[in-house]
Assembly symmetry: C2
Homo-oligomer: 358 residues x 2
């Protein structure tokens, strides 16, 4: 058992050791007409038994299952789920519980937000990535072709139940993938959290729960200030402009292995930090530190000139862009950002060179 549990309700965050009692309270208040639990093939096997045994007052919830993996984060999966909900009698007062990683919370949030123009939903994130990132802030949606998260809405779940105990079910690379977003929170927030998060070790349960709490708090504070991503929320995209393009490119290129989200974002953060040092005076000794820390956890990936050209082509589809310009969030130092930076292509090529030779 973990010794620290966190949950969150529309902007408020609490620590508790009894998530189950709180979920029961949510259900007693809401009185849903029926309860559906969305899982993927992994969380069905590894997380649902724990969830059901801890919440044994749930009266025969309906279980929905999707295939695991980013490749299934498509509108076809939503159509199958909408049909399934409809055929199994879901109505406007039904509740959807999304039990899984970022793909499950992204799809489940979108399906709930659009089914009969919106039913209530809660998230139970089971991956580190979903705990510290996907489940906070109300973003949901699916990919369009290879383009990440192009279709979706912003809608907050009724509550998010974060139980670090589910991390025991995750393979190591999935933990590392989520860790990339925690490193990002360090870079955009403060030298202090950047130093603290370097001590992350998933085997130390108590410290892990504390770092998850800190990361959720940082993201939540930013989202509350700017829910619709007009300004400060854009800082959460640090490393994502190139990171998403790299992730899409690898997902589409059949000869390359797919990268996990965090693996792509890790590369994107090194590139963005190099660009920050070239264009915005980010200290060069800190650039080396950032690169070193990231590469300690994430394997290096090789890119040919042709790869980089294709990645640059994908950049223009990024949601952060408008009026045909690619916009970067850069840093002037750790914890200090500059938004809407215009980056010439040659600096991006130089950044890939830096990454290759580091």
């Amino acid at each position: 058992m973990t010794n620290k549990i966190i949950h969150k309700e529309r902007g408020s965050i609490y620590a508790t050791n009894n998530l189950s009692a709180y979920l029961k309270k949510v259900l007693d208040d809401l009185k849903p007409s029926s309860i559906f639990i969305l899982t993927d093939t992994n969380t069905l096997a590894f997380c649902l038994p724990k969830f059901l045994s801890e919440n044994d007052y749930l009266d025969q919830p309906e279980i929905l299952v999707i295939e695991a993996g980013e490749a299934h984060k498509h509108i076809d999966t939503c159509v199958a789920l909408w049909d399934d909900l409809s055929n199994r009698g879901a109505d406007r007062k039904s509740l959807l519980i999304n039990l899984g990683g970022g793909v499950v919370t992204d799809i489940g949030g979108f399906v709930a937000a659009t089914f009969k123009r919106g039913i209530e939903f809660v998230h139970v994130p089971t991956s580190l990535l979903a705990m510290v990132d996907a489940s906070v802030g109300g973003k949901n949606g699916v990919d369009l072709g290879v383009l990440k998260n192009q279709i979706g809405v912003i809608r907050e779940p009724l509550a998010v139940f974060i139980d670090p105990g589910y991390l025991n079910t995750l393979p190591k690379e999935q933990i590392t993938s989520g860790y990339a977003e925690m490193l990002k929170h360090g870079l955009i927030h403060s030298e202090e959290y950047w130093t603290k998060v370097q001590g992350f070790n998933p085997n130390q349960r108590e410290e892990t729960a504390q770092l998850i709490w800190d990361s959720v708090l940082i993201k939540n504070t930013i989202v509350l200030k700017d829910p619709l991503e007009k300004n400060e929320r854009k800082t959460l995209n640090y490393g994502h402009t190139l990171g998403h393009a790299i992730e899409s490119y690898c997902l589409d290129a059949s000869e390359r292995p797919d990268l996990l989200h965090g693996e792509a974002i890790a590369i994107g953060m090194i590139l963005a930090t190099f660009i920050s040092s070239e264009l915005e005076g980010f200290p060069s000794e800190k650039l080396s530190e950032v690169s070193r820390i990231i590469l300690k956890h994430f394997p290096k990936t090789a890119f040919t000139k042709k790869d980089i050209e294709s990645i640059l082509e994908l950049l223009v589809y990024d949601k952060k862009n408008s009026h045909g310009k690619v916009c970067f969030v850069l840093l002037t130092s750790i914890g200090k950002h500059k938004m809407r930076c215009d980056v010439p292509n040659e600096v991006i090529y130089k950044a890939f060179d830096y990454y290759k030779n580091f």
Copy 2:
């Protein structure tokens, strides 16, 4: 030219004779990165030329086209539009102008609300139904199989530009279809508007514009009080519980001709008014008046016992229902409603009998 034009912006309604100047002001304020106009095959031919010539300051807008008709109000059409927007370089600052009837405004609103988690959109309704109903209140979405409007969100457009001049492009049965919703506004609002709307004649331009204004005002007032349809907004569903089921059934039954939305709602209103007189004391002489007025404009349709059984089966999928019960809005008299009424099936059968023998 019409002599009265109406527009509306997030809850405020104004009358103006110069929609074009107001659209220009909206664009000057918004500064969209690009402008897309969604049409269907009908409005492309009959409405777009008028729109472009009246708004000649628009600099080469991109034109999107979908097939006309309710049968295309499906998620596949959305996928094609999302792809089209993406391939033609739409970004988060692009604007979508929906030029068409209810199918175009419903699909276009949903596509815009979900593309890159939401881009701005405006409606230019060209059918009477869209002017008095679909374009007010922010509901959007698509059908799921035969089930009407199961997938969507509620999001208000930036502005709605209502120009009764477009009614000249409509066939007669399309005008009548929209008129059903105006009759409904009379029934749920007041004896006064119920009497006034009976004088509707689309050839009398000035009076028509006035009645459209009144209907928009009635719907808008209700929506502003209850945007998320927790209470009073449900009254706008008067006649729709059975009406939608009848519409879905006819759309699906290959041996039956499809009904227009208003034609199905007209039948639904006679049935709901009969049920109101059986269960809620709606005056019987008024029931005869309502039936007579509606049947003056809408052709009678025959239903077999088997038809009615299938329609009753579809009822349980209605969005207005929850906890497995079918909920009706009924009237105790014109302008006075009662919500969440439980109606036994035998009363529904009696209502179909009444309709058949009237």
